[in-house]
Symmetry: C2
Subunit: 342 residues, 2 copies
């Protein structure tokens, strides 16, 4: 179905096109291939490749460029990855290994990745799949409002302002907090609410004022706040410098997609399922806006657990052989860095 020679020439063509960005003609390919074949022979092979849907001509006399399907074959079976240079590794290490604040770390990783690849980079912020309560605290504010401070997952602080039916005094709130801390510390936050409601049913009759306070507070505090996932984008301005993407309207749509967040998140969600590097070429991502773009993602995590996804977005003819190992390496180093922090 695809001869040895066909494969070789196809690979060369893709590499050449990625390097130059110009459609590749038979003469060029003949020269490159060192096969001592005439351009005419090459043309026959190229005609076959075109029949297979791997390459196409932008117009009659303009060499060939890979199709999305062609890129797919290339990255799947014939790409020779170029290991990151020592300089790149050093760079990645310097930015990732030293940072100790998680959210700064993620931002910095994204930044580093977009600078090293010269593409737009996305790092998804991990959504903790469990939130165990460590401590809760209430402070009265004016106008029947209470500030609730939760410490969750050992070190993460959340706070929210809750509106209450009546005003509560400091000591009432303190008692309620004490009770909740004692009864529910270490429990999953989702379970706290349930637990309380059960408690309430059991002790309905003799419920004292303190318990009532605790229950009102908890009801309003422990509402689920599965905040929609977040992600960090950096280096999207790099895309403006890439000449074949200078279709400004198209570019604008992609930028809008970053802003809208919905599509990008959905795309990243797809990627979090699989382990390791994944490549979406052109419309494989499922989004029309990305038709001229490819997305290279990798999951990152500590130990066996996937925490999130990171990746880059660039033109379909990005240098996969360089980008893929960079994304992979970054993901692994980020995972390692997080391991020591979480």
């Amino acid at each position: 179905m695809l001869s040895e020679r066909g494969q070789l020439l196809f690979k060369l063509l893709v590499e050449r096109y990625i390097a130059d960005g110009e459609p590749v003609g038979s003469r060029t390919l003949a020269r490159d291939s060192r096969l001592e074949l005439s351009p005419a022979t090459i043309r026959n092979v190229m005609a076959d490749l075109e029949d297979l849907g791997l390459i196409r001509s932008p117009h009659t006399s303009a060499g060939r460029v890979p199709t999305a399907q062609g890129y797919r074959l290339f990255v799947d079976t014939m790409m020779t990855v170029r290991e990151p240079t020592a300089i790149d590794i050093e760079r990645i290490n310097a930015d990732i290994a030293t940072e100790t604040d998680v959210s700064v770390l993620l931002a910095r990783t994204s930044n580093m990745l977009s600078e090293v690849t010269k593409l737009a980079s996305v790092v998804m912020v991990p959504r903790p799949d469990h939130q165990s309560l460590r401590q809760v605290e209430f402070l009265p504010l004016s106008d029947n409002r209470v500030l609730a401070i939760l410490v969750v997952n050992e070190r993460e602080v959340q706070n929210r302002i809750i509106h209450t039916a009546r005003s509560y005094g400091p000591s009432e709130l303190e008692q309620a907090a004490n009770y909740l801390n004692q009864a529910f510390a270490g429990k999953e936050i989702d379970q706290v609410r349930e637990g309380l409601l059960r408690e309430m049913a059991n002790t309905r009759a003799e419920m004292d004022r303190m318990m009532q306070t605790a229950i009102e507070m908890a009801e309003k505090t422990f509402v689920s706040n599965r905040t929609g996932d977040e992600f960090v984008v950096t280096g999207h301005t790099n895309l403006m410098a890439i000449d074949e993407l200078s279709n400004i309207e198209k570019l604008r749509q992609v930028f809008e997609a970053f802003n809208q967040r919905r599509d990008i998140l959905h795309l990243l969600d797809q990627a979090i399922g699989a382990n390791g590097v994944q490549i979406f070429i052109g419309e494989e991502s499922g989004y029309e806006v990305l038709s001229d773009y490819s997305v290279v993602t990798s999951t990152y995590g500590t130990g066996g657990r996937n925490l999130g996804v990171l990746g880059v977005i660039g033109p379909t003819r990005m240098a996969y052989s360089r980008v893929v190992p960079l994304v992979d390496l970054t993901a692994r180093m980020l995972g390692a860095a997080l391991k020591s922090l979480i």
Copy 2:
């Protein structure tokens, strides 16, 4: 120095150019002006305006466009502001008046402003000029680290992780927190540290273990964190749709400026000095990247105090008469909204 007629025609020219984006010729202006003057006469006047540096021709046969100096004169002395439409007011109100979370409010304001003006919008996040401590809490973490939670300015929660020389137990930390809360609640955070150091000097001899703990905690917790100011940018993709800015490299530089934040912050800092709406035309902003852009800002605040700056960035030929009142209105409504929240 500038005749009545000169002024009239100049104003017409600017308005026309802002509306169309095409250089304005003498014939067009003659028709517009309803002055019953021939184009030739108009030409003479235009020659004068050109001598004054208010307008210029892009090339020999292409009508005239306002210079930066021209825009300056226009906005200073002859612009007739168009009051925001009821729809705009409604829109602004809907987005601003209902939000109760400050940071969401600012983001939403920026978003609304860029949508209403179709330009890029910036809202600077106010830096509180005082931070009074309400309460502090310590939680032990692993590896000689302690999580400090501060409640500041009545309702704002900050937290930081501090590394300590030895490990502390929960009760030690609780005592230290109790002491600090009792001694320093309501005080300026900057003063807490000083106060503690003084205290330490006084009681050097008989300092007990609890006090030592309190002091170590406080030293590490109350380091100044005048976090550099922040701002929110939205709608910068709007700029891509404006045809005269389709010089992609230039646009890229402006986007980079948003990312780098330094220049934009400095620009906003300039604006926070003055009260009310300010207009920076072209390079008046002091930044070369913004040479084809104008910036319209306004300070916002509650009562007499300026809390921050917001504004829009767009092409020099933006519709000032519409944008200026919108920025002004937004700033005042944001100020009002904040008043009820702070």
